[in-house]
């Protein structure tokens, strides 16, 4: 098997998995509303596409299995079978089977797959026939659905009867109705209008050629003319159909269109073919056709060409797939370019060369644009991640005997693909916790005056350079007393220690922390939320919790839009450069030697009456040399506390393209990456949470909190 073929198979597998996810979502929709025709069609299409793809690669197991379920959904679509809960269960299980088959396409179907097939066939043999009112007839529904997806371009020639004005009908209003049906261009034929001595001013002499692209079907067009059709001339022809798309945007030649419309004859056309001028002009000049007919044909050509081009472009856009490593390479290259551009700007400034400075500015602008565009390519809507959890919520709540509905808001919020990939696990744990510990059993909810069905809401929105992701439930909320008791038992807090709500809630993210005595297979071992905390730290994000006993809990994750670039604060210690993520920086203050001596060696600073502990990064990183008389303290916020980081100088804001340190430096704690500055020197990017944890462990400072979050 050659490499290209393997790549194509990988693409098929990836697409098939996406289709399965779509089918699962539609199945859940169908479960809620068994008559949801859109969902039925979406499920059918997904299975149909997987079957087709499987067949193309000779994956016979996939083809034959999906054929069965596709047949069931064809019957559902045709109204022969009503989908019930059992069928939804079987269909969801089928998705799991197909997913396994995609992983190992040549493996023999297991017993589970055979059982599901048997259940599906049972359905087919039963064929539960439904009676429906004509208005809801499935045939009509399918037609409507198909119509909605099918864009057809029509050529309409309308010549109203001469006395139309006398009937009170304004033909222009009919044209406006056509315009409302879709994309439309039209031209009036005025050649029948006589001169003033012959004209009957109350007669309609105008006719129209209309080109209309619509998804509404021919009946909708005929409906426009329903009251005038019998007396008028009306011809409607299909000239382009998205269901039978042309391979390219080319359309008929002008002469062909004119002949088709009977504006000229074949002989007329042949008589002008030898001329070295545009056919339309020659035909007009020879009086063989009215200019309006030529313009109408040109309009038709242009309209159809545009429609086809748009369709081809849309197909290309919707189908383009780029391996993610290619994107990563592109981001790296852009990073290099930004670095070179910074060097160029610095050199231009150093040489005081105005021409070079102007070029450097231009390169800077282009590099910034390229960087933003490249970052945008990596952005994906979070909706795909959200929708993955619908199935989880359904299955888990069923398993635990709870009734839970998942709602989502802001599914189209976009963030970096790496962030999305790494977000899946934390969200999974948060949702599992919501269902297991948050949402009460239906009876319990009822007895406390709540609705039987609990709700979990996933919400996402942009907030400056960050994305907020909230997981909320309307369950019983966090039990502060139980958290404090457990923390005390584990020695995470000292007896009598006073903690704010934020601090108490933060305790639940400690490794191994769980207030429940019975670990279920879903949660309770104190692992899940630790995973969440670690993942969010890795993503340079933060977590906050709001909870009200009896009313529910909201966990908010604040994450950067991208991991590739950060807004940083550039500082120096000795000859070394460091970058601190600007999102963590609160303020910068000076550290004067006198203040150090006043605190007798304790690393505590008085900032407007508040004691702020600080870490000397010079000591932390063992940088030799003598610090300046006036040092700078960058105060950062972490987990609700302020900590100062002492540096020699603060240079200023710096947009930083992050480069990985490589595996050799993987164990370097407190450093998340590096960046190359304009002069070619390297600046290390500080990982504030790890740096603080590292400092705590080494007991170089005594922070005023005892727990790690």
């Amino acid at each position: 098997m050659n490499e290209d073929y393997e790549i194509i198979i990988e693409i098929f597998k990836e697409e098939a998995c996406e289709l399965l996810s779509e089918a699962e979502n539609s199945l859940l929709e169908l479960e809620k509303a068994p008559g949801n025709k859109e969902a039925i069609s979406a499920i059918f299409r997904a299975f149909h596409s997987i079957k087709g793809g499987g067949g193309m690669f000779g994956f016979n197991n996939i083809t034959s299995f999906t054929h069965e379920i596709e047949t069931v959904y064809e019957d559902i679509r045709n109204g022969k079978i009503i989908p019930d809960k059992e069928l939804i269960d079987i269909s969801l299980a089928s998705c799991d089977v197909i997913r396994e088959m995609i992983k190992a396409p040549h493996a023999e179907p297991d017993e589970n797959a055979r059982d599901i097939l048997a259940s599906l066939r049972k359905y087919l043999s039963q064929e539960k026939v439904v009676t429906k009112t004509p208005a809801e007839s499935p045939k009509k529904a399918v037609t409507t659905e198909q119509e909605s997806a099918r864009m057809v371009t029509y050529r309409i020639r309308f010549r109203p009867f001469p006395g139309i004005f006398a009937t009170g009908t304004n033909p222009v209003l009919l044209l406006n109705e056509l315009r409302n049906l879709g994309e439309c261009c039209m031209i009036a034929h005025t050649d029948e209008i006589p001169e003033l001595d012959e004209i009957d001013a109350e007669t309609c002499y105008t006719a129209w050629d209309v080109i209309l692209t619509t998804s509404r079907g021919i009946d909708a067009i005929k409906d426009v003319f329903i009251f005038v059709e019998s007396e008028s001339e009306l011809a409607i022809e299909i000239i382009d159909d998205s269901e039978n798309p042309a391979e390219n945007s080319d359309y008929k030649k002008l002469g062909e269109i004119l002949i088709e419309k009977r504006d000229i004859t074949q002989e007329d056309l042949e008589s002008v073919l030898g001329e070295r001028r545009l056919i339309g002009e020659v035909l007009i000049d020879k009086g063989l056709v009215e200019p309006a007919c030529v313009q109408s044909a040109l309009n038709e050509q242009e309209h159809v060409r545009q429609i086809r081009e748009n369709r081809i472009r849309a197909d290309v856009i919707s189908n383009i797939k780029v391996p993610s490593d290619k994107l990563d390479k592109l981001v790296n290259l852009v990073g290099e370019l930004v670095t070179v551009q910074a060097r160029l700007s610095q050199t231009a400034a150093y040489r005081e060369d105005t021409e070079l400075s102007s070029i450097a500015e231009e390169v800077e602008r282009l590099a910034a644009e390229l960087r933003d565009n490249t970052m945008n390519i990596r952005l994906l809507p979070i909706g795909t991640t959200f929708s993955k959890f619908k199935r989880l919520v359904r299955d888990l709540s069923k398993e635990l005997g709870k009734e839970v509905e998942m709602t989502t808001d802001g599914a189209d919020t976009e963030l970096d693909k790496t962030v999305i990939e790494r977000l899946s696990d934390p969200l999974l744990h948060l949702i599992r916790n919501c269902i297991d510990h948050g949402i009460e059993l239906p009876e319990v909810r009822e007895s406390s005056g709540k609705q039987r069905k609990g709700t979990i809401n996933l919400f996402a929105r942009h907030s400056g350079p960050n994305v907020l992701i909230q997981v909320s439930d309307d369950g019983e909320g966090l039990d502060k007393d139980a958290i404090l008791a457990k923390a005390s038992e584990r020695g995470s807090i000292t007896a009598g220690q006073e903690l704010s709500d934020d601090e108490i809630y933060s305790l639940i993210f400690s490794a191994g922390f769980s207030t429940t005595s019975n670990a279920t297979k879903i949660s309770g071992r104190g692992v899940g939320l630790d995973v969440v905390k670690r993942a969010v730290d890795f993503l340079r994000g933060s977590i906050t919790i709001e909870s009200r006993r009896g009313a529910g809990t909201t966990i908010t994750l604040v994450l950067p839009l991208t991991l590739a670039i950060i807004e940083g604060l550039l500082v120096t210690i000795g000859e070394e450069y460091f970058v601190l993520p600007l999102s963590s920086v609160e303020e910068c203050v000076e550290l004067i030697q006198k203040e150090v001596s006043e605190t007798r060696g304790r690393h505590i600073l008085n900032v407007r009456g508040k004691a702020v502990p600080y870490i000397r990064l010079r000591e932390q990183f063992s940088i030799s040399g003598i610090p300046p008389a006036i040092e700078q303290i960058v105060i950062v916020k972490h987990g609700g506390d302020q900590v100062g980081l002492v540096v020699d100088n603060v240079i200023g804001g710096h947009q930083t393209v992050i480069k990985n340190l490589g595996w050799i430096y993987r164990s370097a704690e407190g450093i998340s990456g590096a960046t190359i500055l304009g002069d070619g020197s390297v600046a290390l990017i500080l990982d504030i949470p790890k740096l603080l944890m590292c400092a705590l462990n080494e007991e170089t400072v005594s922070l005023n909190f005892k727990y790690n979050i």
Partner: protein, 115 residues
């Protein structure tokens, strides 16, 4: 706006049309155009800002232009509320890139950059 009004300019050569230039007054308007073309070699038709037009009026303008061409005269439009008038022309599909076969001097009233 059930009626229309025709005002002849002081120096002649222009008629100002206002009010309802629609099917209700189409026959009367036809007569006015015939009279005006009889008198003027270079007729300017001014459509007042308050004028309302429909397809029958556009047909009359077209007919007047053709008559003028036949008589070796000229007719031009002066529109005081372009947006309204142009909308009516566009909605009726009258806008075009090239005049009809009879428009031998390129004075068609509906060419893209006019009226």
């Amino acid at each position: 706006m059930s009626d229309f009004k025709v005002t002849e300019s002081d120096g002649g050569g222009e008629i100002v049309l206002s009010g309802s230039l629609t099917i209700k007054n189409a026959s009367k308007l036809r007569t006015k155009f015939i009279d005006a073309l009889m008198k003027e070699d270079n007729l300017s038709v001014c459509i007042d800002a308050d004028a309302g037009v429909d397809l029958s009026f556009l047909q009359l303008l077209c007919s007047s232009h053709r008559t003028a061409l036949k008589l070796g005269k000229s007719i031009t439009l002066r529109i005081l509320a372009k947006a309204n008038f142009l909308t009516a022309v566009e909605n009726a599909g009258y806008t075009r890139r090239r005049g009809c076969a009879r428009d031998n001097n390129g004075t068609c009233l509906w060419l893209g950059d006019r009226p």
